[in-house]
Structures are given as structure tokens and as C-alpha cells.
């Protein structure tokens, strides 16, 4: 490497900062070793560089600047957003936990209370959103409203025409009501509720008159069925 080229390479070289392993730098430094004039130049150049560096680092900083910066720090939106998101998530989790706790501790209702309430429902005024005699449509409707779409009709009920259906809440439980027409003005009401929603589901088939209605109740798989209709017990049993 010529001395001129070595000067060019070493002109912007900072000993101790820049890598001496760069091929050009290494070669320039090697050239330096064998050229006293170049050595003198590099010595002066390095001293000049140090002086300039020192001057730059003498630039005074206004007093109190760091404090002003710290005091004027904005509230980082990202940080707050994160905190809000986390707080919201924690609140949701807490609410879900409380809800689950409440659900887990909610009072269990007796089968008798359920049956009593269903009879009063049948005897009273209620809305029947779906009015149809199509049993298939009734099942689809109940299923679509998160009711008990997989309810099973007894052989006697399967012969009847449909009237309509409604899905409604009872103490936060879901009850499905399938209405059927037994002819001669006799309406048949079949209530379905999940077995786990009752504290004491009937152990076998129970036939009982509640108020003006005859009722038959039974458990099939995971559901409790209450059948209610006007008429005597003989007619009721014919539907089972």
C-alpha cells in the first residue's frame, strides 16, 4: 500500500474504536510501521482528532434539562392502554368467576315447584311465538332457540298434531314447551327441562292432578318431562 493510500485509509480511523482487522486498515497500519514520515503524520493526526473530539464533548448542556425532560414525560398511551386492557380483562374474568360461583351456588328448585309453575303457565296466558301443526317445524324451532330440540315424544304424543312451541326461562333455567292438539278442544302441554336443573327429579313416572290439569311426569335420559292436559287420568295415560 502506498503512503498516500495509507493516509486516506487512516484519515477516518479511530484507534481503539474502529476495527484494526479491516483489511485496508490492517494494511495501512502495516505500512505505517515501515514509514517514519507516515508515523509522524498519523501521530499528529491522532492528536488533532483527540483535540476535536474533546471540543465536541465540551459542549455544555443547559442546567436542568434532564429534569425538564423527566417532568414533561407524557403519559404513555400504550402503557395506559395496556393497563386498561388488563384491568378490563381482569374485571371480565372476575365477573365470569362470580357468575360461575353464583351459578354453582344457585338454589336448586324442587320438581314439585317446577311442576306447579308449569301447570300455572299452561292455565294462564302465555305467548306462543310459533304456531304450527308441523311437529318437525316445532322441533327445529325449539332447537334454534337453544331449547331441548332433542326431546322425545311418547308413542301416544307422536300421533298428535302440533299446535306450537315456546322456549322460556324459569329461574335462569331453560324450559321448552311443546303444545299439541289431542282433538275435541283438548290441548296437551309437554314441558321439558334439564334433569340437572331440578333438585329432586322424579324417580319414576308420576301421574298427579294439579289444579285443573292432569299431569304425568317422567325422566328420560338427561331431561325431565311434564305432560299436562285437561281431562281424566285415563285420557292422560293414553298419551304416554
Amino acid at each position: 500500500m502506498t503512503p498516500e493510500r495509507a493516509r486516506e485509509v487512516l484519515f477516518a480511523y479511530r484507534p481503539g474504536v474502529d476495527s484494526a482487522t479491516d483489511p485496508d486498515v490492517a494494511l495501512a497500519l502495516e505500512t505505517l510501521k515501515h514509514n517514519s514520515e507516515l508515523q509522524k503524520w498519523f501521530q499528529d493526526h491522532s492528536a488533532t482528532q483527540s483535540s476535536i473530539r474533546a471540543k465536541f464533548r465540551e459542549i455544555g448542556v443547559p442546567a436542568g434539562l434532564s429534569n425538564r425532560i423527566i417532568l414533561q414525560k407524557p403519559k404513555a398511551p400504550s402503557r395506559w392502554n395496556k393497563q386498561i386492557v388488563w384491568a378490563a380483562a381482569a374485571a371480565v374474568i372476575l365477573l365470569i368467576g362470580i357468575a360461575l360461583l353464583i351459578q354453582g351456588q344457585r338454589p336448586s328448585y324442587s320438581f314439585a315447584a317446577f311442576r306447579q309453575k308449569m301447570v300455572r303457565t299452561a292455565m294462564g296466558n302465555y305467548d306462543m311465538p310459533l304456531m304450527t301443526n308441523d311437529l318437525g317445524a316445532i322441533r327445529e324451532y325449539v332447537k334454534a332457540r337453544n331449547g331441548h330440540g332433542d326431546y322425545e315424544l311418547t308413542p301416544g304424543l307422536s300421533k298428535l298434531q302440533g299446535t306450537g312451541a315456546v322456549v322460556f326461562p324459569w329461574h335462569s333455567r331453560t324450559v321448552s314447551l311443546v303444545c299439541l292438539n289431542a282433538g275435541k278442544g283438548k290441548d296437551v302441554f309437554l314441558f321439558v327441562v334439564n334433569r340437572k336443573d331440578l333438585a329432586d327429579p322424579p324417580s319414576g313416572q308420576q301421574v298427579e292432578t294439579i289444579g285443573k290439569l292432569s299431569t304425568a311426569s317422567w325422566v328420560q335420559q338427561d331431561k325431565v318431562y311434564v305432560l299436562a292436559t285437561k281431562g281424566d287420568e285415563v285420557f292422560l295415560r293414553s298419551l304416554l
Partner: protein, 174 residues
């Protein structure tokens, strides 16, 4: 690094160097203060986007330089010289000559060189940053940084020589 710890410790660690860099670019104390404060403001609001925390220093200097360019609203396409195609003789400046100058005169000399060389030369002297780090700060290729520093030093030396021939400045201390 925790965010709160980050901010105060980062300010303590870097505000001086950032201010000196800003002053080298602006030659104005209020402007340099504004740039420094703006840089930390940007860090406080956007710093969380920096995933590689080892790049904080580069990020701060780069942000300050970017803010400076934005404030100047200069979007020139600067010529790109390589040292070996610049036909000038390398200047020689005596260290005693530099010692007779104060920091303000050195910064003033820097302000008289082509603007495209000012930031790389300032970083070259202010921070012991590698060429790679300077390239990251300025967002230019490392080869460009090398040539700009060499060219900038060349111009700075000439300006320092001129400064030494002029009267010492009065009434201003750094």
C-alpha cells in the same frame, strides 16, 4: 427493562450526548433542547415498539436526527462521494490550532461544512459509535457513512484552519 426505570435511566444516560448531537446539528441551544426533549417524548410514546432493547441508543440518536431533518424540511438528494474519487489533498491541522478554539468555534466550523456530512461527523466525534451504528442512526449504508465521514472530516479540517485565522469569539461560552 421496566418502562418507568427505562425513561429516567435513559434520560440520565443519554440526554447529554443527545443534546450535544442536537447542538452540533443546530448550533442553537433552544433548538437543541427542543430536539432532545422531542426525542424523549417520542420514546415515551413510541419506545415500546422497539423490540430489541439493545438498540435503544441507536433508536434515540436516529429519532433525534430524523426530527432534525423534519424540522429543517430539507429533502435534498445529496451527492454521494467516495473518498478515492475526490481529488483533494488531505488537509493537515495542527492539534495546537484546535486547542486554541473553544467548543462553540468547533461546532460553528461543523455548521459550515456540507449539511450531509454534519451528522456523521458529529457522531464520529461525540460518540464512540462504530460505523455500523452510525449507519443505523442515519439510516444509510455503511459505505456511504464511511465516505461521508471522510469527506466531512476533510471539510471540517479546512474550516478549522479558517477559524484559527479569524479572531477568537467573544461573549459566548459553552
Amino acid at each position: 427493562m421496566a418502562d418507568e426505570l427505562d425513561f429516567e435511566s435513559l434520560v440520565t444516560r443519554f440526554y447529554k450526548a443527545l443534546y450535544q448531537f442536537a447542538y452540533s446539528l443546530t448550533q442553537s441551544e433552544p433548538d437543541a433542547c427542543d430536539l432532545t426533549q422531542q426525542t424523549f417524548y417520542t420514546w415515551a410514546t413510541k419506545g415500546h415498539q422497539l423490540r430489541d432493547r439493545s438498540k435503544v441508543k441507536t433508536w434515540l440518536f436516529s429519532t433525534l436526527h430524523h426530527e432534525f431533518l423534519n424540522s429543517r424540511r430539507r429533502h435534498k438528494n445529496f451527492p454521494h462521494f467516495e473518498l478515492d474519487v475526490v481529488e483533494t489533498e488531505l488537509p493537515v491541522v495542527n492539534p495546537e490550532l484546535v486547542n486554541r478554539l473553544d467548543a462553540g468555534q468547533v461546532v460553528a466550523a461543523l455548521s459550515r461544512i456540507d449539511e450531509v456530512y454534519q451528522a456523521p461527523v458529529a457522531l464520529f466525534y461525540l460518540e464512540d459509535s462504530s460505523y455500523k451504528e452510525i449507519a443505523e442512526v442515519l439510516r444509510v449504508p455503511i459505505g456511504t457513512v464511511k465516505s461521508r465521514i471522510s469527506r466531512g472530516l476533510d471539510q471540517l479540517y479546512k474550516q478549522l484552519e479558517q477559524s484559527s485565522k479569524s479572531k477568537p469569539r467573544q461573549g459566548r461560552s459553552m
